[in-house]
Amino acid sequence: MRLEMGLVHIRDVRFGSHTAIKDDVLVIDRGEITLLLEQEPVFDRVEVELAHPGESCRIIRVLDVLEPRYRLGSPNFPGALEPVALVGDGHTRALKNVLVVETSQMTGPGMSASRRTVIDMSGPATAYSPFGDMHNLVLIAYPVRGADPEEYRLAVKKAGLRAAVYLAEAAREIAPDETQIYELPPVAHNQGPKELPRIGYIFPMHSHQHPTHQKETVFYGSNIQGFMPTIVHPNEILDGALMFSYSAFTYHAQNHPVIQELYRRHGRDLWFAGVVLTVAPVTISEKERNALISARLAKEVLGADGVIATKIGGGAVDTDLMMIYQRCEELGLKAALIIMERYPDTGITFVPPNVNALVTPGLTRDAISLPPVERVVGGESLILDNTNPDNTNPSIPAVPASQELHLWVGDIAGAVSQVGASRLATYTS
């Protein structure tokens, strides 16, 4: 299966009378996109703002980040936004250097993760995350009175998908600046030279320690409750079949670092054997079952010699990752894990002594100070104890977001990602 991802590089974004791309500049009809996004009944009204690289500007309360995408001649984000259909083949347009940023204007369950996630458009944060170096269209959707926080969150995520498709549709008739080919044949024909090790990827996309909402759309529109490990084509993940419930940005499914790395080296120093998609369940027997089946699929169906595995979620999923590692090694597969570190002093508690190949995308609770900014987008204040970012007591008052903020590196959107998008490593001091 072959996916041609046509990249359209955008050098500037502005509001104008008609949405179009001309001379690498994306012009957005502000009224039209606002009207489009306001169709969710749970929204009272929607505002959109632009934030540009280099500006003294901070985007706050970031819920999700997406790359604008448009599939030529078939549904986008199937099951979540448009009718169920298959993705990962054919032609897709991707706008590069532009992001859709969803913000949360409501507190409640599921919102805690976003309450102090920021994107700074200049200053030290841009060394950590690429998001501040791109032109960001920020969605600010205000809920109707009495809105249910979960309904609101799902509506914001849907609005984000809608905006991503709306923007990239402008590139429908544009010849891409470059085209990335993602192609992997059916498993039965996916044979490389004998000397290249076959590498698979086991991908728990969600941890049910925080269950998905009944109406949540994670994979092809499914809420993935009761999801069993299965083989998927890596292109489906890159092309809009998958979005995260929490703990990771959809941008990193669309630009999945492990999948892209395996593609990059496919045929060079490894052979990309394929992807096993799974979830982290909550009971021991389910965890054991998913780890066993995932390892078996990687070994006996993909025919892998080695696997990379990553996780999404809290510390509970560390156990799933370690089980996947051990079950793989028991079957004779070599394994390496990417696992995020949270606190400087706690370490990863669930590392069995025989697990010896772990890579860290960085430490989230590493202190950083972000200087004051002239403009804040996505609200005015954020919930933070500016003297002690470790204070997560839900009753702490909000502080003005334009001032100097003392928070964690992990609060910078895009700085540390569990699927391995990061510029960081760690050392023991």
């Binding site: 790395e261 080296r265 390496a336 606190y343 990863i348 697990v355 960081l424 490593a425």
Partner: protein
């Protein structure tokens, strides 16, 4: 270059030239300026800092009167209005090392000044204080006094001036076990694939995260006669009284709470909350027995399976606990239950 850093130097009785082993009982004292190795320290500091006073204490005295000695030494130190404390180096002298670590930590916490010590990795003071105090790895030989004091003063000046501290191998300190970020040459996905390929080839590779070291715990002897035993309920699932009046942490716990259940047959959801950042607490909040089985424990008590259910439940919120804190909380719980005559514990986790 900022202003000259005011340095105080801590030495034991031997290096402070009070006397040898026989003077180990000497109490805390202070001398003006540099003494003994302090002159080498002054050379190492150059014009960046000045040794304004030397504190000293006998090793035995300090070991036997740690609180009193620390108190007195801090009083002496404060008189000199210091910016930095340099303690030792103690090399492999254990009591001296412990004193250096203790006085450094106290100076950091109470005088709010920078502190650096120097010890051998095997020194008892290293194990006790490496997490809270920068300790330059001095090795065991006192012949290396000058180069070690060079490193101690270089790191001390950085700390006193708030300059960024480099890695252990650059600065020469013993790793504290505290992780920090650094920018990497390659992204994590590429490093993971490199590591996996090296592993498949059988080439050497190094994990970026090591397994934690746990000290084995000897299990208690089984309860011989359950029918005469007192049993307590304990949880790390974050049970708190309604409204969490003691503001127990939902994660990163530093303490535990005791909930009185004397005379209670059930945990009323209106009177108890579950406060924990690591799992979905909705179901436990609906019915706290899903977390702590007081209801069935009462049944068992009534049936005489055990003699008595203890009248308090101990609880903490165990998400992301630092191992040291978890160990301390666990020990605190165990000591309390032991004093209160409890024979066994049912520990429910999440």
């Amino acid at each position: 270059m900022g202003k000259k850093v005011r340095v105080i130097h801590y030495l034991n009785q031997f290096f402070a030239q009070v006397g040898g082993e026989e003077k180990g009982g000497a109490g805390p004292g202070v001398k003006k300026g540099a003494v003994g190795p302090g002159r080498v320290l002054q050379q190492a500091l150059g014009d960046r800092g000045e040794v304004v006073a030397t504190l000293f204490c006998g090793d035995n005295y300090f070991a036997e009167n740690q609180e009193k000695a620390t108190e007195k030494l801090l009083q002496y130190a404060a008189l000199s209005d210091p910016d930095l404390l340099i303690a030792g180096p103690a090399f492999k002298a254990g009591r001296y090392g412990v004193a250096c670590g203790a006085i450094c930590r106290a100076a950091q916490e109470r005088l709010r000044i920078a502190a650096v010590s120097g010890m051998d990795e095997e020194n008892a003071g290293t194990a006790l204080f490496r997490k809270s105090v920068y300790i330059i790895n001095s090795g065991s030989s006192a012949a290396r006094m000058a180069p070690i004091l060079q490193r101690m003063s270089a790191l001390g000046i950085k700390l006193a001036q708030g300059a960024p501290v480099g890695k252990p191998e650059e600065e020469g300190y013993i790793p504290r076990g505290i992780k920090r970020n650094e920018f990497a040459a390659k992204p994590p996905a590429e490093r993971a694939v490199d590591m996996l390929l090296a592993k498949i080839r059988g080439d050497p590779f190094k994990t970026e995260i090591s397994a934690p070291e746990f000290h084995p715990i000897k299990p208690a002897k089984p309860i011989r006669d359950l029918a005469s035993a007192v049993i307590a309920l304990v949880t790390d699932g974050g049970l708190v009284p309604e409204g969490n009046p003691q503001r127990m942490e939902p994660g990163r716990p530093t303490r535990f709470t005791a909930l009185a259940v004397d005379g209670l047959d059930r945990l009323d959801p209106d009177k108890f909350d579950v406060n924990h950042s690591g799992f979905d607490t909705a179901y436990a909040n609906q019915d706290p027995h899903r977390l702590v089985p007081l209801d069935v424990a009462r049944d068992l008590e009534r049936e005489g399976v055990f003699r008595k259910l203890h009248d308090t439940i101990l609880a903490t919120g165990g998400a992301h606990a630092a191992v040291e804190n978890a160990t301390r909380i666990g020990r605190g719980m165990a000591e309390r239950l032991k004093t209160e005559g409890v024979d066994g514990v049912i520990l429910t986790s999440t």
